[in-house]
Symmetry: C2
Subunit: 145 residues, 2 copies
């Protein structure tokens, strides 16, 4: 199992908006070309980023723009925006444990706190990186090529 590629796609998109935004319109079609991801999927991701207040887009006009500074956007914000993990959490519980079995009716509760802690540790790590850092690293590599 893997976290949906919409997450890495979203980071790619935001990086492109910052790096190419000055010289050209960053349309879903352009982003589709850079990512190799279908333009409709790009528009869906942009739509989620817009709902999260991370980008601005407008019907007709073409070109996505950042709605906040890169150093105010963490990888966690993007992860949340594109809804990588739903309310059920990162772990999938087997759904029909037997309530007549003392283990079956309690195991979920016993594990829950510990699994949530693991998920939190993971998410907290994502909060440590801002898009500003990602873009800075990308610009550095490009300039050295």
């Amino acid at each position: 199992m893997q976290i949906t590629s919409k997450f890495t796609t979203a980071v790619h998109i935001l990086t492109c908006i910052d790096i190419f935004g000055d010289e050209r319109r960053v349309t879903s079609d352009f982003l589709s070309g850079s990512t190799g991801v279908n333009a409709v999927i790009i528009r869906n991701v942009l739509s989620q980023l817009r709902t999260a207040g991370i980008v601005n887009t407008r019907q007709g006009s073409g070109g996505a723009h950042l709605a906040k500074a890169l150093d105010e956007i963490t990888l966690y914000d993007v992860y949340k925006a594109v809804d990588c993990v739903d309310d059920e959490g990162l772990f999938h519980f087997h759904e029909n444990p037997n309530a007549d079995c003392p283990v079956g009716r309690n195991i979920h509760r016993v594990m829950d706190g510990r699994l949530t802690a693991a998920q939190k540790a993971f998410e907290n790590e994502l909060k440590k990186t801002t898009l500003a850092q990602v873009v800075a690293d990308t610009r550095k590599i490009i300039s050295e090529e």
Copy 2:
């Protein structure tokens, strides 16, 4: 997306082996009844736990047994045993970034270290809990019921 329920199923299985192992044979059929998971899936999970050196099973004889002490098995060991996350890692990269685009050909590399760190943080948290703790909590809840 969610981590396969084989993981929580495996923890359930190990808990049952410890709690019921003294009074009865813990067969795949019994475990299927307690978990609500198909008996063949149970046998597959047991097979993975056996490969990891966590349980012993034998053809014909019936009944799984722990191959090591509960306090020597962490949630991480179980997670690894049932192969929740493959070599590709927890995050799924979009697979066809455009090598002609300076962002496209570098973004993977830029993100990789940070995403690996998040995965590591998550896995390290799983290493903090042993099955001994899970079973102790389970026994406590059962005794208070």
